[in-house]
C-alpha cells in the first residue's frame, strides 16, 4: 500500500521542480497560476460529472497495461506464449506483421487473430517513476499498453500525452489492506464471493454482493441532490440498463436510449385516442399509472412507468436544444481484428452522455453520475479474436468522449467530466491455452481535464507465477492481490465531486480501513 504522504510528496516535488527557477515566492505563485489555468480550462459553471465505463465480464488488464522491464516481460511472455493460441502480446517496437508472413519474433505464421498482426505493445512513460516492488529484480520499471489503445496513448492529440489520462494499477475490492499471505491463509476479512461475476460487478459498484441496493455513484450524488433543482430525476443516468452503482438513498437512476430522442413514450397512453376512443386512451393512462397498494410489485412497477412518462418530455426537449443535438456522432469504428467497419455501441452510449452534459444547464443540473458499459470481456477462450476489438472499442469510445467534451458549443467541458473504467475483476496471469480465467486485482483507466494525467497511480505489482525459485510477493497463484481498494479509488473521485471526508467515510464503509484516502489522481 502506498501511503498518502508519498503521493502528496511526489506531487509537491513535481511542483517544486517546475517552480525552482522562479525563486522563493514561486510555490504560491505557481499555485495561483495553476488555479488560473484550471479556471480558463473549465466552463463557467460548477457542473461536475462522473462517468463509469463498466467492462462487463472481467477485463484482462494483464494485456491492457504491462510492465516491460526485462524480468517482468520475460515472466509475462513465458506465462502467456503458450497453448494452441498464445495470447502473449509482442514486445515493444515489434512492427505489425503481414497476414501470411512468418513472424521474426515467434516464427509463427501470422493471421488477423494473432498478436503478431497487431505489432508490439506501445511504450508509455508515466511522469512519476513507479516504485520497485519488493521481490522484483528490476532496477527501473518500464511500461506499455495494448496496441489497440493507440487512440488514447499514442495517436496525435491523445489524452495521455495531453495529461488528461492516467492509469490506476492493481485495484480491486478489499475490506482491509491484504497481503498475499493473508489472502492465501484467509487470515483477514475478504470481500465475499471473489471471482463470481455478478457479485464482483455488484461489489465494485456498491461494496456489497448481489442484492445490494445502493452504489457509490448514487450515494455521492445524494449529497449533491439539493443543488440539482426540479429536474433531479436526471441526476443518475444509465444507458446500459439497471446498475446499482447509480442508486442512492434518494437518487434513482433514469434510463435513456441512445436514440436522438432518448426518452420513449407509451404511445397508446400519450395520444388523444386509442383505437379511435379518447376514453380508452384515458383508461389506459389510469391503468399504467395506478400505484394502488394491492401489490408491492405492481406499485413499484408503475412508479417506474410514472417516472418514465413524467420525465420523457423534459428530457427530449432538453436533448433537442441546438447545444445537445449538435454533439457530433462518434467517428467510424473499424474492428482491428476483422478490418470491418462496425458500430461501437460504447461510443454511441458516450454520445448520449455528452448530449446529457450539454443538456444539463437547460435542466438546471450541476452534478451527474453516468453509467455506460461494454460487455464481452469474459475471455475464457478465443481471446485473440475478441480482446483486441474490445480494447479498441474502449479506446475509440474514450477518445471520442475526450474530443466531444473539448467542444460543447464552444466550451471545453473536459475539466467538468471525469470518466473511469471498472470491471468485474482482472483475469488469471497464465493462459488456459487460448484465454484466461477469473482472478482479482486489475488495472484501470481514468480520463478527464481534472485528472492528473500521463501518470500511474497505485503500485504496479511484481508479475509472474511462483516457479523455479521465483517467489512473487504480489500474486497468489495466478491471481493478483489488489494493493489499492475500490473504496480508495472511489474516494478520490468523491473528493473531486465535492464530498467531505466525513461524507466519504459514511458512504464508503471500508474506507476507514485504509490510511490513504486520496490516491492523488484528481486535481
Amino acid at each position: 500500500m502506498k501511503p498518502m504522504s508519498l503521493q502528496s510528496r511526489r506531487h509537491f516535488l513535481r511542483m517544486m521542480a517546475a517552480a525552482a527557477p522562479l525563486g522563493a515566492a514561486a510555490p504560491f505563485a505557481l499555485q495561483m497560476a495553476t488555479m488560473g489555468s484550471a479556471a480558463a480550462q473549465c466552463a463557467p459553471t460548477d457542473y461536475r460529472a462522473l462517468v463509469c465505463i463498466f467492462l462487463f465480464g472481467g477485463n484482462d488488464s494483464h494485456n491492457m497495461l504491462l510492465a516491460t522491464d526485462t524480468g517482468s516481460w520475460n515472466r509475462y511472455y513465458a506465462a502467456r506464449n503458450l497453448g494452441v493460441d498464445p495470447i502473449a502480446l509482442m514486445p515493444a517496437g515489434t512492427p505489425p506483421a503481414a497476414v501470411g508472413s512468418v513472424s521474426p519474433v515467434t516464427g509463427r505464421t501470422v493471421s488477423r487473430t494473432t498478436p503478431e498482426f497487431l505489432g508490439g505493445v506501445l511504450p508509455i512513460t508515466p511522469r512519476t517513476r513507479n516504485p520497485i516492488p519488493a521481490g522484483t529484480v528490476a532496477s527501473n520499471r518500464t511500461f506499455a499498453v495494448h496496441p489497440s489503445l493507440a487512440p488514447l496513448f499514442s495517436t496525435p492529440g491523445n489524452p495521455w500525452s495531453a495529461g488528461r489520462l492516467a492509469v490506476m494499477a492493481n485495484t480491486g475490492p478489499l475490506v482491509v489492506p491484504t497481503t498475499k499471505t493473508q489472502y492465501a491463509t484467509r487470515s483477514v476479512s475478504l470481500p465475499p464471493n471473489l471471482m463470481s461475476h455478478n457479485d464482483q460487478q455488484s461489489i465494485w459498484q456498491s461494496g456489497a454482493a448481489e442484492g445490494a441496493r445502493r452504489g457509490w455513484g448514487g450515494l455521492m450524488a445524494d449529497t449533491m441532490l439539493a443543488q440539482n433543482g426540479s429536474n433531479a430525476v436526471f441526476t443518475a443516468i444509465s444507458t446500459a440498463g439497471n446498475a446499482v452503482f447509480l442508486s442512492g438513498d434518494a437518487v434513482i437512476q433514469y434510463q435513456l436510449t441512445t436514440a436522438a430522442q432518448p426518452a420513449i413514450r407509451i404511445t397508446a397512453a400519450s395520444g388523444a385516442t386509442l383505437n379511435g376512443s379518447s376514453t380508452a386512451a384515458a383508461r389506459l393512462r389510469e391503468i399504467v399509472r395506478d400505484t394502488g397498494p394491492t401489490s408491492y410489485f405492481g406499485q413499484d412497477y408503475n412508479s417506474i412507468v410514472r417516472r418514465s412518462m413524467d420525465a420523457a418530455d423534459a428530457v427530449n426537449t432538453a436533448f433537442a436544444t441546438p447545444t445537445a443535438s449538435g454533439i457530433p456522432a462518434p467517428p467510424p469504428y473499424v474492428n482491428p481484428v476483422t478490418g470491418a467497419t462496425e458500430t461501437n455501441n460504447l461510443a454511441t452510449q458516450l454520445q448520449t452522455v455528452v448530449r446529457a452534459v450539454a443538456a444539463a444547464p437547460a435542466l438546471g443540473i450541476t452534478r451527474q453520475v453516468f453509467f455506460v458499459s461494454l460487455g464481452g470481456f469474459d475471455t475464457h477462450d478465443v481471446q485473440n479474436q475478441v480482446h483486441p476489438n474490445l480494447l479498441a472499442r474502449v479506446a475509440h469510445g474514450m477518445a471520442y468522449l475526450d474530443t466531444a467534451l473539448g467542444n460543447i458549443a464552444g466550451l471545453n467541458m473536459r475539466g467538468n467530466v471525469t470518466a473511469f473504467t471498472m470491471s468485474d475483476f482482472n483475469r488469471t496471469f497464465t493462459t488456459n491455452g487460448d484465454g484466461t480465467d477469473h482472478a482479482w486485482g486489475g488495472h484501470h483507466l481514468i480520463m478527464g481535464g481534472a485528472v492528473r494525467g500521463r501518470d500511474m497511480y497505485g503500485q504496479f505489482p511484481t508479475v509472474g507465477v511462483d516457479q523455479s525459485g521465483f517467489v512473487n510477493p504480489d500474486m497468489s497463484g495466478n491471481t493478483m492481490v489488489p494493493t489499492t481498494s475500490v473504496h480508495q479509488f472511489a474516494a478520490t473521485f468523491g473528493r473531486w465531486f465535492g464530498l467531505s471526508d466525513a461524507q466519504q467515510l459514511t458512504l464508503l464503509p471500508y474506507l476507514t480501513n485504509f490510511s490513504n484516502r486520496n490516491l492523488g489522481f484528481m486535481i
Binding site: G83, V251, D300
Partner: protein, 430 residues
Amino acid sequence: MISLTTDVVDVRGAASYYDMLTASAFVNYRTLLERVTLHPMMGRYLTYLANQKEDAAGTRTPDENYAREVLQLMSTGLVELNPDGTPKLDINNRPLPAYTPADISGLAKVFTGLSWYNATPTNTTFFGGNRAADASVRPMIFYNQHHSISQKAFLGTTIPATATANGAADLAIALDTLFNHPNVGPFMARQMIQRLVTSNPSPAYVQRVAEVFNNNGSGVRGDMAAVVTAILTDTEARSATLADDPGYGKLREPVLRMTHWMRAFGATSTTGLWRVQSTSGNTSLGQSPMASPSVFNFFRPGYVPPGTTELGSRMRNAPEFQIVDEVTTAGYVNTMNLAITSGLGTGNDVRSAYAAELAIAGNADQLVDRMNRLLLSGQMSPTLRSRVLSAVNSIVIPASPQSAIDQARLNRVRTAILLVMASPEYLVQR
C-alpha cells in the same frame, strides 16, 4: 442456459439445446445435468469444448469457465445452505463459501478433453476440423489424449492421478459429486419456485420442495417431475389468502407475456416460420429467447430493485425487475400494442384473428369476462374491470355498414387485451 448473443453458438445447435431442455424438463436432475454438460453448445458457450489438459510444467492451466459456473449457477450455488435454502453462517454470522478456488481448479481438470462428436475422432476433429454434419446437435465425446491424468480434487472428492486417461469415468464421478451435494435440493427448489410461483418463498416452502428433491417418496433423488408437482401443489402456491399478501407473487417476464398473448389468442404464423425476430432491444421487450447477455441470464435470483419504495425498502427479491426501467416499461406496452393491433415480427408474421373474442365483442361484459379468464385467472379487480368496461363501451358499434361494425368490434377486442396486459394486475402473477 446458453445464448445466441455470441457467435460461438450456432442457430441449429441453439435450437437443439432448447429442444434438449424441453425434453428434459421432467427427467432426473442428474440426467439433465449430464445432458447440459455434454451439449456442444454449452461446451462452446462456456468454452470447455476442446479444452486441453494442463501442460507438464503446470503453467498453462485448464479453462475454468464451466467448472465455476456449473457450481455457482447449476448445482451448489456460492454458499453452503441449510435445508430450507437459507445460508449457513459461521460464528461471525458470515456465509460459508460452498467451494474454494482450489475446488474450481480441480474440477476444471475433469472438463478437459471434451469436444465435437465424430464417428472417427482425431486431433483434427478435436480442434474442430472435419466437423461432422450434425456435430452441433450431438453430445460431445471425450478425446482422452487431451484429458487430464493428474489428481483432481474438488468438494471433498479426490480422483487419484492415473496413467490412463478416462474422461467418461471422471465425468461420472464429478457429476455424481455435484448431484449429491446437500445444497442442490434447496438451491434448485428456491429458484424453481421463483420461476413458477413467487419471488420470495418462505424457507418452509423451500424446504418442503427440497425434501422432495432429496427423496420423491420412492427413495429417488432428483426427480424433477416430483419437484415441479411439489412446487405447484404446495399450500403456498394454492392459498388464496396468501396470494392476497401484497408481497406475494412475481413479475411476469416480458417474453412470457408475449407468449401468453400468442397462446391465449391462438396466434398463428402467416408464413409458418414464426418469424418473431429479436425482441432484445430496450425499446422492444428488453428480452428475447436464447439471447441473454451472459450465462447469468437476464436477471438474478437475489436481485433487490434499488430505489423502489415497496420491494427495495423491504429487501424483497424481485429478479424480473432487473430488466425493468423507464425505457423497457414503455417498450413493452408499445410492442404489445403493435402485436395486438398488427402482429409480431417480420411482416407482422405472427398474429391472431381473435375469432372467439370478435364473436362476443358486442357484449362488453362477456368480452371482459373472457379477458379475466384468459389473462388473469379470474382475479380481475372491480377497479380494473370498470376501467376496461368503460374503455370497451366507449367504442360504439354502429348499426351499419358491416365494415364499420367489424372495425368497431376489432377495436373493442384490441382495447380490452391491451388494457389488461398493461395493467399491474396482469404484470404481477399471483
